[in-house]
Amino acid sequence: MAENVAASGSNDDDGIREQDQLLPIANVGRIMKQVLPPNAKISKEAKETMQECVSEFISFVTSEASDKCRKERRKTVNGDDVCSALAALGFDDYAAPLRRYLNRYRELGGDNKAANQDKANNNSNSNEDKLEEQSSLKFRMIGSSKNSSMRPFD
């Protein structure tokens, strides 16, 4: 009598989720190109594979971050959780620079809440000053050679 009627949204495989959201192939391809020699070519399938890998990466790390939040009875996954999850899953090389990135983002006002508080305290200038100063930071990759068309954004 235990008939397994497939209700809506039956997932018979654990691996592939058909309607996975993917990051745009153009953006992914562009990033790939940044680390390849100028005459390198990338097959369309390789870009598609990369898209899927990135989505999987996001899911993988988010699950870990979300688990941590649940254990600590917090509802919102924040940037620290993402960094901790990366470190926990072996991506230590990413976690350290990302923490610095996150801290700077927060210093600069981060989510609007902080910026509004600062305005209320007449400290809006300090954020703008920091923005000016930060925007002159150059983005350098160690050992990057030909493709370094990195400029500070104005």
Binding site: D13, D14, G15, I16, D20, Q21, L23, P24, N27, R30, I31, M32, V35, L36, A40, K41, I42, A46, E48, T49, M50, E52, C53, V54, E56, F57, I58, F60, V61, T62, S63, S66, K75, T76, V77, G79, D81, L86, G90, F91, D93, A96, P97, R100, Y101, L102, Y105, R106, L108, G110, D111, A115, L131, Q134, S135, K138, F139, M141, I142, G143
Partner: protein, 106 residues
């Protein structure tokens, strides 16, 4: 030989800075990660945007090494699969790459 590793400087311009990847899409993918994911702070997709960039670069570099070993100049999906299999850190991708390559024909 270039190595994926820590970056010496991080570009910040404005609060969020220019991002190579769309934040809204990242957020959607995060939300689909599982039932437990309810709320996501505004900064999380921003952190992920950078993390994904690093991830793509690392996987691409490793894949390219395989391409070069095959004396080719076109990076194909089998190269990506090989790189995944050769890297412990990317074990979480094993199912994905093996499922994609169901018809193995040389």
């Amino acid at each position: 030989m270039r190595q994926a590793g820590s970056y010496s400087g991080i570009l910040i311009s404005g609060k969020t800075g220019p991002h190579l990847l769309p934040l809204a899409r990242i957020k959607k993918i995060m939300k689909k990660s599982g039932d437990g994911v309810k709320m996501i702070s505004g900064e999380s997709p921003i952190v992920f945007s950078k993390a994904c960039e690093m991830f793509i670069k690392e996987l691409t570099q490793r894949s390219w090494m395989v391409t070069m070993q095959g004396k080719r100049r076109t990076l194909n999906k089998e190269d990506v699969a090989s790189a995944v299999m050769a890297t412990d850190l990317f074990d979480f991708l094993l199912n994905l790459v093996s499922e994609m390559d169901t018809s193995k024909s040389s």
